[in-house]
């Protein structure tokens, strides 16, 4: 099994279950034991996962990917000690970010439900393969990536959270914005869009939005 086997879903699941940090250790680029160079796949997945965490308001440094070969026991100890220090500084998941537990739960669940879709986005739009770590970092910091991510993922994440929230009881647009810490204008846009697609409906009696089904 290769680090490239690490699914974005695994990372999100760990955070969902309350992990304050997730560490992925892989072989050094160029030292893949398979012919696949799967460590570049995990590198990309880690970048995507960090982007998602950022969008959710979670500090992306809670996810750490490091290259450590089997002969580098000392380095492993150093890296883990350092990661432990970083996490202690960040504080417990959610608390450190100032997100309340129920909102955090909704955000992570929303992201988790989106994993299959994110994989499609990766396949259709992010299949670029670079030679160096720097190129990956550069690409994931680029405007192009930002645009792709905003167009394809950010809104989906918001809608996913909204539907999860409305599962319990109907809410007004303002209540949704408050609960999810989103801009009211964005919430209205998503509600209008989702109504048009038949995902949510406006309950005239309650004066609130509810799930369509």
């Amino acid at each position: 099994m290769c680090t490239g086997r690490v699914d974005i879903g695994f990372v999100l699941r760990a955070f969902q279950k309350g992990a304050d940090g997730v560490f992925i250790g892989g072989c050094w680029p160029g030292e893949c034991h398979y012919v696949t160079e799967g460590n570049y796949d995990v590198l990309k997945n880690a970048h995507i996962a960090k982007k998602i965490l950022e969008t959710l308001g979670i500090n992306p440094n809670r996810l750490r990917l490091e290259w450590i070969s089997a002969s580098e026991g000392m380095r492993y100890a150093e890296v883990m000690n350092d990661f432990g220090r970083v996490l202690k500084e960040l504080g417990p998941l959610g608390k450190g970010e100032g997100i309340d537990p129920s909102a955090l739960a909704i955000r992570l669940e929303a992201a988790n439900r989106l994993v299959p879709y994110v994989k499609l986005v990766e396949r259709e739009r992010l299949r670029q393969r670079f030679k160096t770590e720097e190129e990956y970092a550069e690409f994931f910091a680029s405007d192009e990536l930002k645009r792709i991510f905003e167009d394809l993922v950010v809104d989906k994440l918001a809608v996913s959270q909204m539907t999860l929230l409305l599962r319990d009881n109907p809410l007004t647009s303002a209540e949704i914005a408050k609960a999810l810490d989103l801009e009211p204008a964005d919430v209205s846009r998503h509600l209008k869009d989702s109504s048009r697609k038949g995902l949510v409906r406006y309950d005239e009696g309650e004066k609130r939005y509810a799930l369509a089904i």
Partner: protein, 1016 residues
Amino acid sequence: MNSAERNIGDVLIVGGGISGIQAALDLANSGFRVFLVDKSPALGGKMSQLDKTFPTNDCSMCIESPKFIECSRNPNIEIITYTEVDRVEGEAGDFKVTLTKKPRYISEEKCTGCNICVDYCPVKIKDPFNQELSENKAVHIYFSQAVPLVTYVDPETCLYLKEGKCQICVGACKTNAIDLHQKPETFQIEVGAILLSPGYSTFDPKLRGDFGYGRMQNVVTSLDFERILCATGPYEGEVLRPSDGKHPHKIAWIQCVGSRQVTPGGNNYCSAVCCAYSQKQVILAKDHSPTMQATIFHNDVRAYGKDFERFHQRAEKLSDVRFIRSYVTVGKEIESSKNVTIRYSTVDHGVKEEEFDMVVLSVGLNPPKDVEVLAAKFGIELTDQKFCKNNPYNPIETSRKGIFVSGAFQGPLDIPESVVTASGADALVGQLLSTRRHKLERERVYPVEKDVSQEELKIGVVVCYCGANIGRVVNIPEVIEYAATLPNVSWAGENLFACSTENAKQISDAIVAKGLNRVVLAACTPRTHEPLFRDTCREAGLNQYFFEFANIREHCSWVHSREKENATAKAKEIVRMSVARAAHLEPLQEFQLPVDHTALVVGGGVAGMTASLNMAEQGFEVYLVEKDDDLGGMARRLHYTIDGTEVQPYLADLVKKVYRHPGIHVWTDAIIEDVSGYVGNFTTRVTSQGRVREVKHGVSVLATGAAEYKPTEYLYGESENVLTQLELEEKIVAGDEKVVAAKSIVMIQCVGCRQADRNYCSRICCNQAIKNALKLKKINPEVEIQIIFRDMRTYGLKEVYYREAAERDVKFIRYEPEGKPLVEAAGAGFKVTVPDPVLGQMMELEADLVVLAAAVIPSEASQEAGKLFKVSNNPDGFFQEAHVKLRPVDFSADGVFLCGTAHYPKHLTETISQALGAAGRAVGILSKETVTASGSVCDVDESSCVACGACITACKYGAISFVDTPKGKKAHVEPILCKGDGLCNAKCPTRAIYLKHYTDDAIYAQIDAALPPSRA
């Protein structure tokens, strides 16, 4: 099988230590039937008595004992213990050997190793395995992981055998296994070849009586101290002193006890392993008691092996550790405290006498006991030092054809060298007996696998103490109690050493008795032990993929040894995760993949040629690729060895044999373009002399060599009278006037290594300097030669040449790294200034020639080969073997092997040994029709597959394609091509493709178990 058949085999191995064991396994795995004979009651040799092994501090028994079990389970190895050879008749290919089995007074067939007789036996004796530091009984098992796990009776102390009294044990034994009337049993076997691996004995300091051993209770030998350190030792892993059982706070180690001596009773050679093992003992003793003060009285520190330099630094940097360069004498034992005084002298303080709580004598390695009798029986010659006399061009060959030698009977060797020579012996036997291969081979038979698909989950959890490795830190009973409460766990129990035969059998018995259908073992690492326990499951009729390892040693007790409570909590969490995962395990079947019986060897130096020639002689086709336009490599620059053997005629002969061998295809001017495939089925594209060619091969041997450092120091390159040792050698042979007529020569050692950027010793340079100095002295006895050195590392039997050089008036001046010599041009020659450590002032030397011991550095070809073959290099740039001790010529990548200086600098004979070792290991694969591939491969749930093709583009092995099904196009995995990396799983949007054994469900279960709700 009748008894005549039983007594016919291919190879007899005499000596069941690590070298004999490795040879037995290699030979049995390459199609030969082996008798493995040892005179002691169990396999294991000296390695089984060691606590840990340098430089990785792996637990010695933990890495050796799985091999005992492997031997005992191999149908082609017959283990015969407590047995000695009487005589050998016949010749290579047809030996008749007469052996006598000493009476154990126990029936090996009936004894179950239950130890009840031991409990009843009234006679206490000193335990030989524990160096007589603790007690055992007159009937006992040699040690707890012994193979065979049966008792034996000591005839010297047994009351019945001595005086005809007692016999309590006979009544106590439930299986009637005790037979106090047993007689020696003499029998004959027929074999084609014999391997001698009788090991060594340790120097006995009692004989000469110096150092107080035997008179002063707190003076122990280093082997005694190994037992004291060990969890299964006399004090159960607590470091205590023999006189009063108290913790010693101040321990001294005395180096070179019995070694490097000219006084009668001592050995004139260096024992090669003591520097490193003492450093290890210091590190371990400090680990047991961090405030302990350690003092090592030493001569040269010989950290000449791979990673030894760093290991020495590690010991030196610990607090309260002093390395003192001084000869010592043991003073007196202090009556009241039983402390011991040591007199020593240093440059700064003169003579001092200091008191220590305990003194460890770093005793050297002697030839095996009764070596002359042994030599006479086998008709082989010995050296002056009573080691086995071997062929100078092939250290594994003895003076008698068909009889080979491996391990420390060659001379002092460490464990990896003993293993390498064992694999090398396999290669030579394979060459001698190639026509007999597979003729006597037998298959292993397992019980029929039980179908458990209809059963409910019954998970068994076994928690291992690993002696004290885990048990000292983790509270095992607490972990067991906890494990029993976990979902689906139907039984939880403990093991002292899960890897001992008895306990492994307990596990397989428990599987049957308790009806277990999943097994979780909380112990050590799957890297070394998973195959053993998967096999244990198979023995019990359970599919081997129902086994799950929870590593609570490397991942827990070893790294949290100071936080026992937290470590116990973590061990529980690790077990909980494994149990959760075990619930999702499915039975899997493995695949047999065909093997291409062709080898590719990269590098046409002595290593590559030796490996090629051996494999070809064993009957396999070999492609040898060399980047230069001719074969020979670095050896072209070598002309004579320190032992006086000529290199060039040997090399010319080797090159000729390689070129002429019909089974070897030599491609020169070759560049490897691309390597693909896997063990048994590689495809490599090579451009040679402008042509691109492709070769299919089953194994690869990388022998890409090393290079000589080009010095930038000491005026090298500025003056043509500053040479490297290799350049000097060439000029000596050419009769260069400047060299042979030089009146004074200064040699400087350690140029370009043993420094921050190259933190290793180049191993060969001290011998090279001595070799050339002796040659120059022979040409002109008047020439003045001064060797400026840091530590003279003429390890092993080479020590005698160091002494010879001193006798011939070669001068040795030691320098410290902070006081490097200064070389300046002066007239036609040089002025060399160096601080004199003894006199404390600057010395000025005149020299016509300055010769530099330039470091051996990794070759560029090794870096390139590393990338192409997906194998790693160590921090110094040399190849990284799979396991430093026990897999010294394997890479972690299956089917790829290494040898020669690409692994680490080494001498010509060492290179030849290692090349044969690599050939032996490679033939282990080449000689098989198939290799077994893991059952952990991908498969597709067609109903979930949406035919998006994400998996197909992710797979670099081309294992996935679309197939038409009644429900449309679906992804399909060709299991033989799948390597189980699982990349496709992370790409599939519908979780349709899944990696068996590592499914999403299993991994999610593990994540969830790691983070239970109470934590969130």
